[in-house]
């Protein structure tokens, strides 16, 4: 204690004290917010969520989806689509749509987590539908091999065997699946957003969906062991690379071989 009291007039003491204060405040705040987040992740909604969600819906979504989400010429009815559909469409920024087109694009989300949850609560209150998946199904600890088999049977024809995405008809496309959260992948499977078919729990079991997510995260983390995957688009990008870069190098060597040295 004597040493401490002696050093309290040290020119750096004020800075050290300030740093300590900031660290303690920041640490406490971080703990407090993670506690809040843990609460926000639960799928049970309360009455105030539904009420707030109704207000947000009337202000932002009702133009197309109609008051009471009963649908209109511009947008489908949302009765019975479930909380999972809202969490996917709003959470990935696809809804509200920026403009009409063949397909809604992924973009920065317009609503924060609380608002998304409130909207989901409101839509879920209109009729029973798929709910937001539990944490246990998103832990990426399933069987990646089984997930790969399910993925190649059910998903790869549109999303590409390496999940790099692919084209559909008339401007529509299946997006690449890298950087998509496990929760959104799960929700897309159970709700079938836009032109994607629904893969309900009778088709691909929740355990199978967990395996698929595990597989996708695994191939994303491992990358391509054979070198640059060139977008994993198959013969188009690989052929283009070989014809331009490969032949280019061969031609350059040929020119060098036959030229005279100065």
């Amino acid at each position: 204690m004597k040493a401490l009291s002696q050093k309290r007039r040290h020119p750096l003491a004020a800075i050290a004290l300030l740093l300590m204060g900031l660290l303690v405040t920041g640490g406490l705040y971080a703990v407090a917010t993670t506690v809040n987040q843990a609460k926000a992740d639960t799928t049970s909604f309360n009455a105030s969520d539904v009420g707030e969600g109704g207000k947000l819906f009337a202000a932002n979504c009702a133009t197309c989806h109609g008051m009471g989400a009963s649908g209109s010429q511009a947008g489908p009815s949302l009765v019975g689509v479930g909380a999972a559909a809202v969490d996917f469409q709003v959470g990935t920024g696809r809804m509200p749509m920026q403009m009409n087109g063949p397909q809604a694009y992924k973009k920065p989300a317009q609503f924060n987590e609380t608002q998304t949850k409130q909207l989901a609560a409101y839509v879920a209150s209109l009729g029973p539908g798929p709910s937001i998946p539990e944490e246990g199904l998103l832990d990426e600890k399933g069987n990646a091999a089984a997930g790969g088999e399910l993925f190649r049977t059910n998903c790869a024809m549109c999303h590409n065997a390496a999940a790099a995405g692919g084209a559909l008809t008339r401007g529509k496309f299946a997006p690449a699946l890298a950087d998509v959260s496990g929760k959104h992948i799960y929700e897309a499977m159970v709700t079938g957003p836009q032109n994607m078919p629904v893969f309900n729990d009778a088709n691909v079991s929740p355990e199978g969906k967990r395996d698929i997510i595990t597989f996708l995260k695994q191939i994303e983390a491992n990358g391509s062991p054979g070198g640059a995957d060139l977008g994993a688009l198959g013969p188009t990008s690989e052929g283009l690379f070989v014809w331009i870069a490969g032949l280019g190098v061969i031609i350059a060597f040929t020119i060098w071989l036959t030229s005279r040295t100065s």
């Binding site: 559909l168 078919p197 629904v198 040295t261």
Partner: protein, 356 residues
């Protein structure tokens, strides 16, 4: 060629010069004057080129060392991840590339910059002189004479016999390409066996599907019951029998005459094999009800019994007639009513027999 170089009038058919008194002859421009290289005149340039060649060979040495280090130092034991394999693959590739290119480019540069570069022309000798021809004839005559093939008919005849028989094993080998497929392409595993209708089961695990499992907007990838239990020809059977099962609003299906009972409450099953060249058509858009083939973009409209609405396919996808059995599982009431997949020579004939 030698005959024509003496300047005598040319009586072979050189039409271009006919009518001209004097044949315009191509003058051999000879070898261009020899130009000295920098390394030939300047000893410092020669020294520099020497160092460059040595540097290229040195790069090759470094490349080999990179390969060896990557091969032996990177541990691919049980605990290593795919990222480690990727690192090793990259280093092995880079090492080999530098090792080979270093030697190759070094030798070329050496030859181009330092080795003598005198240009030499070698005269071509005339071809097919009479002596050469006679010499060749003599050789053949010698062979006939020395082998005595004319004098020894026993040897000649046995040789002819041996050569004539030698291709026979090939016939046996090519025979293994058979037997002829006959009408195998016209039938699939969906045909009821022993009076029992085949259930529709999930690909890949083979569990049966209840009609209530298939909600609107769903797409199921389906294989016939018993496919996974096949010991032989499983892939061939699967390639013909795979089916896509979808449910849409029953009002949007407008079945044609004779197909009214081929669907169940809006659940329809169609062959997944494209009628163009046989790719799996499984890209289902649940809002437009289009099925797209990923190979050549043939598009089929589910609401019009998979009529082709775009692309090179010429026939709709074959529909599998389905119903529900006593336990609520989906079953195929019969095989496809036409051969699945792309056209083949006997297809029309097979289609007639399948439907009769």
């Amino acid at each position: 060629m030698g005959n024509h170089s003496d300047g005598s009038p040319n009586h072979s058919g050189t039409v271009a010069t006919a009518g001209q008194n004097e044949v315009e002859k191509f003058q051999d421009p000879g070898i261009p004057p020899h130009r000295l290289r920098l390394a030939d005149t300047d000893p410092r340039a020669a020294k520099r080129a020497e160092r460059q060649v040595a540097l290229l060979f040195g790069i090759s040495v470094v490349g080999t060392l990179i390969f060896l280090v990557a091969y032996f130092a990177i541990d691919l034991g049980d605990g290593s991840s795919i990222a480690t394999i990727r690192l090793q693959n990259a280093l092995l590739g880079i090492g080999t590339a530098f090792a080979m290119l270093g030697i190759g480019t070094g030798i070329v540069h050496w030859a181009k910059a330092l080795m003598p570069d005198h240009e030499v022309s070698e005269e071509r000798h005339g071809i097919r002189t009479e002596e050469d021809r006679l010499a060749a004839v003599r050789i053949v005559d010698d062979i006939v004479e020395e082998t005595g093939i004319k004098r020894r008919p026993l040897i000649r005849n046995t040789l002819l016999g041996a050569v004539a028989l030698a291709p026979l094993p090939a016939l046996a080998v090519f025979g293994d390409l058979g037997p002829r497929p006959d009408d195998k392409l016209a039938h699939t595993m969906w045909a009821p066996a022993g009076g029992k209708l085949k259930r529709l089961t999930r690909d890949p695990d083979g569990t049966p599907i209840k009609a209530t499992d298939v909600t609107i907007g769903s797409a199921f990838h389906v294989i016939p019951e018993g496919l996974n239990e096949l010991h032989e020809g499983k892939l061939n059977a699967k390639a013909k029998a795979v089916v896509l099962l979808m449910r849409l609003n029953p009002d949007s299906l407008k079945p044609s005459a004779g197909r009214e009972d081929w669907s169940y409450n809006g659940i329809v099953a169609y062959s997944k094999i494209c009628t163009h060249v046989g790719c799996p058509v499984a890209l289902y858009e649940q809002q437009t009800h289009h099925l797209l083939c990923p190979c050549h973009q043939s598009t089929f409209d589910l609401t019009q019994e998979c009529k082709v609405i775009f692309g090179p396919a010429s026939r709709p996808l074959p529909q599998l007639p389905i119903a529900v059995d006593a336990e609520g599982y989906l079953v195929a009431t019969s095989d496809f009513h036409e051969p699945v997949g792309p056209s083949y020579w006997e297809r029309d004939e097979h289609e007639r027999t399948v439907n009769s």
